[in-house]
C-alpha cells in the first residue's frame, strides 16, 4: 500500500525525523491559509499523487508570496500530471502539500528496503540525491553505499556514522544525519514498511539535515497490525476495478488492453498474460481467482473484466488442483445468469480451458448448459490463439 508524501511526513515527524513544516491542502483557500500559517520566506506548493517524478512534470512550484501560492494552487489542483511513473494517462491532482522552503546546500539519497538474499534490511545512500537512483545504480554503482542491518540489534550507531562519513557530511552535521538514519530505520520496523525512501535528504546552508521528500510503502501482509496506516489509504489514487477486485478477494491488475483472462494461481496468471501477448493480443488484465472457485466470486470476476466495455474477449485458464473444474464451470454458468438479460449469454467471446481435478464434469456442465459465446479450448496454445483471433477479428 502507498500513501501520500504529506502522510509519510506525518509518520516521520512522529518518529522524530526532521521534516519541513507543512500542511496538506484540498482547495485553494486551504492552500492560502496554510501558507499564511507557515509565514515562510519561501513556500513550496507540491502536488500530491502516488507517483514519483512530480518535479520534472511541473508538480512542484516555489512561491515567494501568498499571491503566488494562490496562482500555483489554482493551477495544480485538478491538473492531470503525467510522470514516468503514472503512465500516459497521468493522475489528477486532488490535494497539495504546502511546505516551507529549505536552503539547500547539498542533496543526498537515502533509503531502507528488505534485501531478499540476505533477509536483512539494507540502508542505501548516495551523494547523488534528487535524481533517479536507478540511473545512479546502473551508471555509477560505486557511488551507492550500503549497510546491512542485523535484525537482532537494529541499525548500530557505528553503521550510521560510517554512512554519514561516507557521504561526506560536514562535522557539524554528521551526528544529525546519523540520528536521522536511526529514526528512519525505526519507521520501517515500527510501521512494517517495505520501503522508506528519502530523496532528497538535504543538508541546509546552516548544516541542518532535513528529509525533504519522503516515500513510504507498506507491506500489505502486515497492514492488520497498522489500522492507522490503513486509514490513510486514498482510494481515488487506485484503479476502481482493482479496488472492486480486492474487496471480492480477487487478485487483479488492470493492464489496459482488451483481451482479458481469468486464471487460478499467480504464476499461471502471469504466464497467461504473457502467452496472450505472445500470440498478438493486447492483455486487459492479470487476474488470479485463487484457490477456491466459489461461483459468486467467478461471476464478480466476469463483471470486473467486462465493466466499462474493456474486455472484448476472455480466456479462462484453469488448472484444477485445489480448484475444481466443475465448480469453475458452474461459476461461468452463474456469471451468465447474473450478467446477461437472458441469463445464458456473455456479451463477448469466452474461450475456456479446463484441466485437472473434475475436468470431465466441468466440460459436461458447459456442454449441457449452452451459453452463447462460450467455446472450449483444446489446448493452452490453441485457446490463447483462438481468443486473440476472435478479439482482433472484431476490431
Amino acid at each position: 500500500m502507498n500513501i501520500h508524501e504529506h502522510q509519510s511526513k506525518e509518520i516521520l515527524r512522529a518518529f522524530g525525523v526532521n521534516v519541513p513544516r507543512g500542511k496538506a491542502a484540498f482547495s485553494v483557500d486551504e492552500a492560502i491559509a496554510a501558507a499564511k500559517e507557515l509565514n515562510a520566506p519561501v513556500t513550496v506548493v507540491k502536488a500530491q499523487i502516488h507517483a514519483g517524478g512530480r518535479g520534472k512534470a511541473g508538480g512542484v512550484k516555489i512561491a515567494k508570496t501568498i499571491d503566488e501560492v494562490k496562482t500555483y494552487a489554482t493551477e495544480l489542483l485538478g491538473k492531470v500530471l503525467v510522470t514516468h511513473q503514472t503512465g500516459p494517462s497521468g493522475k489528477e491532482v486532488r490535494r497539495l502539500l504546502i511546505e516551507e522552503g529549505s536552503k539547500i546546500k547539498k542533496e543526498f539519497y537515502l533509503s531502507f528496503v528488505v534485501d531478499r538474499q540476505t533477509a536483512k534490511v539494507v540502508m542505501m545512500a548516495s551523494t547523488e540525491g534528487g535524481v533517479e537512483i536507478e540511473k545512479v545504480a546502473a551508471e555509477t554503482p560505486e557511488k551507492i553505499f550500503k549497510e546491512y542491518i542485523d535484525p537482532a540489534v537494529g541499525l548500530m550507531p557505528f553503521q550510521a556514522s560510517r554512512m554519514a562519513y561516507a557521504l561526506n557530511f560536514p562535522p557539524a552535521a554528521v551526528r544529525k544525519a546519523a540520528a536521522m538514519m536511526g529514526q528512519l530505520y525505526n519507521v520501517l520496523i515500527g510501521k512494517d514498511c517495505s520501503q522508506v525512501e528519502i530523496n532528497p535528504l538535504v543538508l541546509t546552508e546552516d548544516d541542518d539535515v532535513i528529509a525533504l521528500d519522503a516515500k513510504l510503502n507498506f507491506d500489505d501482509s502486515a497492514l492488520f497490525r497498522h489500522p492507522d496506516v490503513v486509514e490513510m489509504r486514498d482510494k481515488t489514487e487506485e484503479d476502481p476495478k482493482e479496488l472492486t477486485a480486492a474487496a471480492a478477494d480477487l487478485n487483479y491488475v488492470n493492464l489496459g488492453g482488451n483481451v482479458a483472462c481469468m486464471v487460478n494461481g499467480a504464476g499461471l496468471a502471469m504466464a497467461t498474460v504473457d502467452i496472450l501477448k505472445h500470440y498478438g493480443g493486447n492483455p486487459a488484465n492479470f487476474l488470479d481467482v485463487g484457490g477456491d472457485s466459489d461461483p459468486q466470486k467467478i461471476a464478480t470476476a466476469f463483471k470486473i473484466m467486462l465493466d466499462g466495455g474493456q474486455a472484448k474477449g476472455i480466456f479462462v485458464n484453469i488448472f484444477g488442483g485445489i480448484n475444481k473444474c466443475d465448480q469453475v464451470a458452474e461459476g461461468i454458468v452463474e456469471a451468465a445468469k447474473i450478467i446477461s438479460d437472458d441469463g445464458k449469454s456473455i456479451p463477448v467471446p469466452v474461450v475456456v480451458l479446463l484441466e485437472g481435478t473434475n475436468v470431465e464434469r466441468g466440460r459436461e456442465i458447459l456442454k449441457n448448459t449452452p451459453i452463447a459465446n462460450v467455446i472450449m479450448a483444446p489446448t493452452m496454445e490453441g485457446g490463447a490463439k483462438e481468443i486473440v483471433r476472435l478479439v482482433n477479428a472484431d476490431n
Binding site: Q85, V114, R116, Q117, A119, K120, V121, I133, E134, A137, A138, D150, P151, A152, I189, D192, S194, D219, D220, S221, A222, F224, R225, N251, V253, L255, V263, N264, G265, A266, G267, L268, A269, M270, A271, T272, V273, D274, I275, K277, H278, P283, F286, D288, F319, G320, G321, I322, E355, G356, T357, T379, M380, E381, A384
Partner: protein, 302 residues
C-alpha cells in the same frame, strides 16, 4: 532416490485441526505420506484422520521421531510456528501459509542462523517426491515418476509443468515449490544443489518469475557448477513495473527483476527458456535430447 523427503520421512502437520489442514492431511495420507503427528496447542489427545494431536512440536517430535513438518497455520501465527519447528530440531519445515509479514520472515531467517533446519516456503505449494511423500498441496496426480528435478516459485505453474511433462512421458524425482515471497527459506540454488547431488535426478527444470535476482544467481551457479542439463521458464514478461503480480515477491522494482533480464542471464548460461507456458514440456524434451539423455528419461505414457 530423490531429495529432502521419501517414503520413510515421518511428518508432523502443524495446525492440523484447521479446515484446510485437515483436508490436506487426508490427501497427503492418501498419497502415502507417513504423517505421524499433528500439532495444535490445546488440542493434545485428539486425533485428526487417525493422526494423534500434540500441544507442541517438541512433544510431537519426541513421541513419534518425526523429522519434518508442514505448516498450515494462519499468517499471523505462522512465523512463530516455523521457529517452533526449527527449535524442535526438525530437519525440514515446509510452510504453505501465504501473507506472512516480510519483517516476520526477516526474524525467522535470523533465528535460523546456525541451526540445522531447512525451511521451504512460505507461500508455497510444498514438496512432492513422486509416489512416496508429499508435504503441502500439490495435487497427487499431476506428476509421474522419473528423472527430472523440478523447482518453482509458483504453485499452479508447478502443477502445469509437471502435467505437461507427464503427458510427454517425462517423470519427476521431486518437485519443490520454493514459494512466491521475497524472503524465504530455500532458493533456486539450494534446490539445484540438492538435485545436482541426487543420483536419480538427471536434469532440472526451474520455473521463475519477475522480482529479485534469484534466477540470475541460479543461472551463474548452473554455469559454474553442474553438468546436468537445465531447462527453464520465466513468468511475467508483460508485467508492468511497480505492480505486485499476485505473489508478494513478484514485482519489478527500481528497474530490477524483469523477465527479460532473467531470460538473458539463463540463455547466457546455455539454458533453454520456454517461449510460453504452453511450451514448458517441449522445452524440457528438447533439452534432454540435446544432452543425449532423452531415452533415459522417457517412459511411454500409459
Amino acid at each position: 532416490m530423490s531429495i529432502l523427503v521419501n517414503k520413510d520421512t515421518k511428518v508432523i502437520v502443524q495446525g492440523i485441526t484447521g479446515k484446510a489442514a485437515t483436508f490436506h492431511t487426508k490427501q497427503m495420507l492418501a498419497y502415502g505420506t507417513k504423517i505421524v503427528a499433528g500439532v495444535t496447542p490445546g488440542k493434545a489427545g485428539q486425533t485428526v484422520e487417525g493422526v494423534p494431536v500434540f500441544n507442541s512440536v517438541r512433544d510431537a517430535a519426541k513421541e513419534t521421531g518425526a523429522t519434518a513438518s508442514v505448516i498450515y497455520v494462519p499468517a499471523k501465527f505462522a512465523a512463530d510456528s516455523i521457529m517452533e519447528g526449527v527449535e524442535a530440531g526438525l530437519d525440514l519445515v515446509v510452510c504453505i501459509t501465504e501473507h506472512i509479514p516480510v519483517l516476520d520472515m526477516v526474524k525467522v531467517r535470523k533465528y535460523m542462523e546456525g541451526k540445522k533446519t531447512r525451511l521451504i516456503g512460505p507461500n508455497c505449494p510444498g514438496i512432492m517426491t513422486t509416489g512416496e511423500c508429499k508435504l503441502g498441496i500439490i495435487p497427487g496426480n499431476v506428476q509421474s515418476k522419473g528423472h527430472v528435478g523440478l523447482v518453482s516459485r509458483s504453485g499452479t505453474l508447478t502443477y502445469e509443468a509437471a502435467f505437461q511433462l507427464k503427458n510427454a512421458g517425462i517423470g519427476i524425482t521431486t518437485s519443490v515449490g520454493i514459494g512466491g515471497d521475497p524472503v524465504k527459506g530455500t532458493d533456486f540454488i539450494d534446490a539445484l544443489k540438492l538435485f545436482n547431488e541426487d543420483e536419480d535426478t538427471y536434469a532440472m527444470l526451474m520455473i521463475g518469475e519477475i522480482g529479485g535476482n534469484a534466477e540470475e544467481d541460479a543461472a551463474a551457479w548452473i554455469k559454474a557448477n553442474t553438468k546436468k542439463p537445465v531447462a527453464a521458464f520465466i513468468a511475467g514478461r508483460q508485467a508492468p513495473p511497480g505492480k505486485r503480480m499476485g505473489h508478494a515477491g513478484a514485482i519489478i522494482a527500481g528497474g530490477k527483476g524483469t523477465a527479460a533480464d532473467k531470460i538473458a542471464a539463463l540463455n547466457e548460461a546455455g539454458i533453454m527458456v520456454a517461449d510460453t507456458v504452453a511450451h514448458i514440456g517441449e522445452t524440457v524434451v528438447e533439452t534432454l535430447k540435446k544432452a543425449g539423455i532423452y531415452d533415459k528419461c522417457y517412459k511411454p505414457v500409459a
